[in-house]
Amino acid sequence: MTNPTFKKPSQRLLALSTAAMALPALAPPSFAVAPTERTLSYRYTQYNEMSIDPKKVSSINADEGGGSNQRYDIDINQYAFSTPVGDHFSMSIDIQDEVLTGASPWTVTKEDVKGTPSDSSDDEIKLVMSGATIKEHRTEANLATTYYYSTGTISGNVGFSTEDDYESTSAGLSWGGEFDDKQTGVSVGVSYSDDTADPEEGSYKGTELGGKIGGWLNGSDPVVGTAKKESVSGFISGSRILSPNWIVQAGVSYTQKTGHLSDPYKANDKRPDERNLYTFNASSRYWIKPIKAAMHADYRYYTDDWGIESHTLSLALYQNWQKLQIIPSLRYYTQTSASFYSIADPETTLYNYYADDHRLSNFGAITTGLKIVFKQKPVDWILSGEYYVSGADMALDKADEPEHPGLLKYTKFTFGVEHRF
């Protein structure tokens, strides 16, 4: 037999367990203890967006030679190393190198059955794709350090990211503290990032395409020289141990983005130069002793002043079985569209701002995932897969707009290995 579990823990047991947790040998691992191990890890991820039904792709193409129905494939290599430095510090470095190939939607157009541009509401909305010639290489490095003291931690990080036509620098600072016999945790943080884009041909394509597609295409938000944008963000969150088996956490964040926020690789895209984003999140971690598994439940509410409102609900079961940890997961996402988004109404282009990016549309998505970790000390082997599908009919709120033909389906596979020493 295994340890029997009789019924749910009583108030008496809770009181005893809480008192016992104050004893040094029984205290749950505290985050304010500096790590004592070095960790070296590698991960390879293959992200594949599924190709689009050719019937949804316009014959018009950003480059000559016919519309591609292939979308992005990204190969990602991640390397990470972390090490304690003395008794009170830890340092970590992460390097991510990714290669992106494929095509992306430039805009949408209405076409009749012969492929001639049309304004009729009966006709289908099709994607105008870039040629399958894009190949981007992006490298990102992050350096972080944490200082551990008796009742909390202070962390700082800097990051750099570079690709052919884009550079980004970021920095963050956060503090975490514990109170009330380590039953309550509070953390606050701020971060800043500065991005510079130097689109190769991006902002001019829109104008060229305008001629091909017809009357109502508005053209992109031209970038003169380089496009800059900045992001400032802050968060505060609190966690509480409710019982030896249950921890809950909640937090809010605010982010302000300013600068050239239009997408230089879209042909019909002009966005406000400021965006204010707000999130609220709540999570619960519950240890289910009889089955030796932890139930993770997370909810996130997001809203911004572009009119997008979203809800995300994630559930994952961390099931331990001998040397394996098996983690099935399910995530539901739903969002409303940005106020200036439209693919159906040509009149939209009369407004100051407009966009036909599927990411700003009204849609819902479901992600199913399975992750398996094999722990063979001192090495952990990680294998995970994820399938994502999105659609307008999966959204919580139904919009008047037709479904964007560019809504994604993708798969993501990761292989990883982590060595502690």
Partner: protein, 285 residues
């Protein structure tokens, strides 16, 4: 610890296991040296010697006192670390009942509520004594397990006088003997990471005029409690298992079952008349 102890570890070789045991045995001796009321140099003896004057405790001792104070609350005053002085009146080897006046004279020096405890400052009123025997042995088993894990030992069993803590990936067989006939095995079960403890009245009791007097004393009256013969409990750690089985005994034969069900941990309770309530899993036999 005043009783046989054992450490079992999984290691690559016997000599390696023996080497790994050394620091654990040192840790066990540290507990003995610090908390034994029989050693004049122990912290407990120092606390008892300085009764009447305030003393500042280290964080480990303070946490143990805090925990004992919680047990006092949870047991409605039946678990009381100041009740040790009653032992001076009850001599279990002579099988003689103490005079009622002797007990009465001791009662004013018993009662945790009289102690001024403001973590980490302890002011024990003059004439009073504390005895941490009811919690330290169990806690020490947990502390040794933690110490072993910190050394990288992936699986093991620590037993300090019948109180057991198992850690890591392996499961370990545990035998429970019949509390009325300790040489007779009653039940065998397999314990995975967690604590197991047994409290019983069979170790020390005497019969007087046909009545069984156990060494479990009610600190409010100074007289023995009519306890069940033995209670075993499984919990996440040895300290909780030990506290729950000890408190169950203190609740007495009448109250112990409802108290055990109220706590909600798996238990086995054997009564003096041989009745057994087995609330381990059905497959435990």
């Amino acid at each position: 610890m005043g009783s046989p102890c054992q450490i079992r570890l999984r290691a690559s070789s016997l000599s390696h296991a023996q080497a790994l045991c050394q620091p654990l045995m040192q840790e066990a001796w540290r507990f003995e040296a610090k908390y034994s009321r029989y050693l004049p140099t122990s912290l407990v003896s120092q606390i008892n010697a300085s009764a009447g004057a305030p003393l500042v405790l280290d964080s480990e001792a303070a946490a143990i006192i805090d925990y004992a104070a919680e047990l006092y609350q949870q047991s409605d005053g039946l678990f009381d670390i100041t009740s040790g002085v009653l032992r001076t009146a009850w001599d279990f080897s002579s099988a003689q009942l103490p005079a009622a006046q002797t007990i009465q004279a001791l009662l004013p020096n018993i009662g945790w509520q009289q102690v001024d405890w403001q973590n980490p400052k302890l002011l024990l009123p003059a004439g009073m004594q504390i005895d941490l025997g009811g919690v330290v042995k169990e806690y020490a088993a947990d502390a040794l397990a933690q110490c072993a894990q910190a050394q990288g030992i992936d699986s093991g069993l620590i037993e300090l006088g019948g109180d057991i803590r198992v850690f890591g990936s392996l499961t370990w067989p545990i035998g429970i003997s019949d509390p009325r006939q300790p040489s007779r095995p009653l039940l065998q079960l397999t314990l995975e990471a967690g604590g197991f403890a047994t409290s019983g009245n069979y170790q020390r009791y005497f019969m007087h005029a046909g009545k069984r007097y156990s060494h479990i004393l009610n600190p409010k009256t100074g007289w023995p409690v009519v306890t069940p013969a033995g209670v075993s409990v499984i919990a996440d750690n040895c300290l909780i298992a030990g506290s729950v089985s000890t408190l169950a005994l203190l609740m007495g034969e009448e109250q112990c079952l409802s108290w055990l069900y109220d706590v909600g941990l798996p238990f086995l309770c054997v009564f003096n008349d041989g009745r057994i309530v087995n609330e381990f899993a059905p497959s435990a036999n």
